[in-house]
Symmetry: C2
Subunit: 258 residues, 2 copies
């Protein structure tokens, strides 16, 4: 890790705040829309320490409940460690494949669901739930907000990586208990994600599962409710619609504007 890197974050916050220019705004949306869950096209090019440091620093600048910063990062580069994790994946994925019937099972087996050994860096992101003491500000009601903060950190890293030309794939088909054994992670620390990072020859235009016909993208309009669950602009019914309390059943005037 390049410890003498200038602190990009410190520099940015010292500058007077200008609104984002339209090209800056476009760049942020570009990272968001072109980010992919990457499992293929990894190049052997190593990730320089300075670049990896920037990515971890991006993750570290997510917000966190009570400013607890509960995350840790285990950087894996050794082929033997990757091989051990790949074996965990193979075991779990074999079992997962049995859950589907034909023709879905056939499609499942064609999908590439990890890039553990092909990617130059693997990164395990954890959440230390005791960090910050017993009474973490803001965590009294919803205990899992520390996990949510850690996911936000992961998304920061994912977007920064996209801007660096680095693909990131989240391997979710892993037993976290077994993974903790391999990486020596203490019992009270929770594994959130196992990520594969590497420069790629290209980013896919669409998510792999969409391109493969596994599942279609939902129209975002179908996921929006106004003032209360089930209140739709066009009043369409919803499979998960429910009887609303009388107090919030009145017409929603703003919804008409869409």
């Amino acid at each position: 890790m390049a410890r003498n890197e200038p602190d990009v974050a410190a520099r940015v916050v010292m500058e007077p705040q200008e609104p984002f220019s339209s090209s800056e705004r476009e760049a942020v949306y570009r990272a968001i829309f072109e980010r992919r869950d990457v499992r293929r096209n990894f190049l052997p090019t190593p990730i320089p320490d300075a670049v990896l440091t920037r990515l971890l620093n991006a993750a570290h600048h997510a917000g966190s409940v009570g400013f607890m910063q509960p995350w840790d990062f285990v950087i894996v580069r050794k082929p033997s460690t990757k091989r051990a994790v790949k074996q965990l994946f193979n075991k779990t994925n074999g079992a997962a494949a049995l859950r589907y019937k034909k023709p879905r099972a056939d499609l499942y087996r064609t999908l590439k669901l990890e890039g553990i050994e092909e990617s130059s860096v693997n990164l395990c992101v954890t959440c230390s739930r005791q960090r910050g003491g017993p009474h973490v500000l803001g965590r009294s009601t919803v205990r899992d907000t520390d996990l949510y903060s850690t996911c936000c950190a992961i998304q920061n890293l994912w977007l920064a990586a996209r801007a660096e030309g680095i693909g990131v794939g989240w391997v979710s088909i892993l037993s976290h208990a077994a993974l903790k054994q391999v990486l020596g992670i203490p019992r009270p620390v929770k594994v959130l994600a196992y990520l594969c990072l590497g420069y790629v020859s290209e980013f896919s235009a669409k998510p792999d599962l969409e391109a493969a016909g596994w599942r279609a993208r939902l129209p975002v309009q179908e996921l929006v409710h106004y003032e209360a669950w089930g209140n739709r602009v066009e009043g369409k019914g919803r499979r998960q619609g429910c009887e609303l309390p009388k107090s919030i059943q009145e017409p929603v005037t703003r919804a008409k504007r869409g």
Copy 2:
């Protein structure tokens, strides 16, 4: 919601892929480093429907386990709904304040921890855990990956909002059960976040809790491990260090490079 907005995402993915320019990359880092959990400085300026649509579309373009896209968005603009939620906050926050002893308790009471009524839009983000059927690809081992996906969507929205000059505050001091009653959210749907959105007069240079002296930012270097938990560049001990399995205790050559 502006349904006739051109689809920014569709446009972006049709263009040939160029690497991010250095100014595009800087813009992404700027959004990451200048994003704040905002509770003050909200302006009464309304958020245009087209802008809110862009933010929701940004959230919707997070990756999701099995491409299940489990999120929904309840948009709250009515003062009466906000007031009801604010009452929930007051109740929970009063109880939370009692957990601290002086002088921490005094500091706690000075903190502004929500902007429910001052912000022009409140947004409840949920996760529908049954979406995509019983066997969600990639969710067989870690059941909560759908929640993690939803948090990634929230971070997308948070960063896009920063680029739009819109502050976002995550109110975590709320009973989600009570919130579901207010918003009519069905039992099987999980509330992930209640966010306050609005244009702001300025973004703080530092997180509020850091500025208030509640807690300091950790040096990111202290959160990095090499190959296995506890392997540090400078070999420092860790409060959460553990005995590593023999197989992964060998010296890590890459770690020396930092």
